[in-house]
């Protein structure tokens, strides 16, 4: 299993027009993506996520650094044949229909005419645009454009799929659909590299993540590694026991229904309470271990910078 993507010490700065002041966007980005995984690239807006992606695609030429895709330079023409790209806020030739548009891009991939129509129909079905396939793209909603964007990214059956904010601007149903497609891509053996600033989605699909802030990757690794699975405390919601008794276990909160929620630190105490509940006529309503989530981790990291 090699690396699908390896970025080493990427630097990029821009001149702001005539003023000749250089703004450094990427100050040494390094990360590696293993084959077959879903990799999340997160960071606040302006951190350099899109710039990094554009470097990967040869839309921007970095000042310094190396980019390798499966061991070869990313500018190698073969490399781009194995990539699919879904940009943020995609916009396409609005007078074409979805089908015509996909046909055009299929030509750019040099796909053989014979299998193209089936392939296009398959993709349209995959992204759920069958009903609008022959509608002009100018009539597409943002979500629909995003989906056709995904379809064109998958035209050449790429090994590496790059997505810039793929879930932005979608309703919850749309987000779920895209998330499912992403997971499916992994099942097909593809590698997915997606950038986002919506953490819940990243949490749900990604295997590994890199956090970029202010032009640098400040943290990288699997979700397991990054987020301490340590249980901080457990929230147990009980009824039928006296509050004063429960206060011995931890902080108590009475909620409107009459049940009492206790924040208990330490698994031994949780066990003792459970025993107590079992041996009495009290009822256990819920038991929720509270761990750190990605958002807290992320915010903590950013604030630490």
């Amino acid at each position: 299993m090699g690396y699908a993507l390896r970025i080493e010490d990427l630097h990029k700065s821009f001149k702001t027009d005539l003023l000749r002041r250089r703004i450094e966007i990427l100050k040494g980005v390094s990360l590696t993506v293993t084959e077959g995984e879903i990799f999340g690239y997160l960071g606040p807006n302006g951190a350099g996520k899109t710039t990094t992606m554009k470097c990967l695609l040869g839309l921007i030429f970095p000042d310094r650094g190396r980019i390798e895709m499966r061991g070869r330079s990313h500018l190698n023409p073969d490399a781009r044949d194995r990539i699919g790209f879904l940009p943020e806020n995609p916009y396409f030739y609005d007078y074409l229909t979805a089908r015509e548009f996909l046909r055009f891009y299929a030509q750019l991939h040099g796909l053989k005419k014979s299998g193209v129509e089936t392939k296009i129909s398959g993709l349209i079905r995959l992204v759920n645009l069958e009903r609008s396939a022959d509608l002009q793209l100018r009539k597409y909603s943002k979500g629909m454009l995003q989906r056709i964007g995904l379809a064109q990214a998958l035209l050449n059956d790429p090994e590496l799929v790059l997505m810039d904010e793929p879930l932005g601007g979608l309703d919850p149903l749309g987000r779920k659909e895209i998330r499912d497609i992403i997971v499916r891509l992994r099942e097909e053996g593809k590698t997915v590299f997606l950038s986002s600033h919506i953490l819940q989605d990243i949490e749900m699909v990604c295997d590994r993540v890199a956090v970029i802030a202010d032009g640098r990757v400040i943290s990288q690794g699997s979700l397991h590694e990054l987020i301490s699975r340590k249980t901080f405390f457990t929230e147990v919601t009980v009824s039928g026991l006296d509050r004063r008794e429960l206060e011995a276990y931890g902080r108590c909160l009475t909620n409107p229904g009459g049940e009492i929620m206790v924040q208990i630190e330490g698994p031994e105490r949780v066990d003792r309470l459970l025993e107590r509940i079992k041996s009495s006529e009290a009822r256990l309503h819920s038991l929720v271990p509270r761990t750190e989530n990605l958002e807290e981790h992320f915010v903590g990291m950013i604030q630490a910078k």
Binding site: K54, I60, Y91
Partner: protein
Amino acid sequence: MTIRAIAVNTFREAIRDRILYLLLFFAVTAMIFSRLLALLTVGDRVKIIVDVGMGSLALFGTLMAILMGTGLVYKEIDKKTIYTLLSKPIQRWQFLLGKFFGLILTLAIMMAAMSLIFLLLVLAHAGRPTWDMLAGLAFIFLELGLITAVALFFSCFSTPILSSIFTLSFYLIGHLSWGLETLIAKLRPGAGRAAVQIVYTLLPDLENFNFKTEIVHHLPIALPVMGSALLYGLLYTAFVLAAAILVFRRRDFL
């Protein structure tokens, strides 16, 4: 192949541009207006219809070339359609050439329409379209091709307005370089004169494609002249496209 696919797509996009039809309308109007001009002048009627007709064809064709050439690439960059396009396994030069040929195709259609109307107008005034006339029209088209390449070149790194101004300047310089020739004749030989001569040789001489005088006065156009002018036009176009390719290669798309 890739270039063809992009060319066809460019053509389909360009031919929908309403500006083209507006300019076409003006061109036709100008040609018909030449009839009126013919009444006001001290000269042969058919002459003025041919001259003004071909002149307006050239003028409006040039405007079309400039507006389309500067608009299309900029639009792709502005609307970001270029991101997905260039992320495909195509080379940037293929993109440029595809755009160029798509524009040429669009211009060809427009020119054919204008030429048809022009020739009908000539017929209607008891003139006779000659082979030389068709050759003159063909050379106008060659000039338009060169201008398109120049417009495309500028739009690789500049905004549409600036690109239009630069391209228009190219056109004006191209038709006024005889002035430089006169100047050279009056300079004393030396480094200064040599420098001006180099500049003069490299500056576009679009008058080489202008056969209006010969056509209007029924003078023969010598074959070596036509052949050389054709070669000149093709070489200059190649030069501009090569420059555009080089400029476009390393452009960052922010």
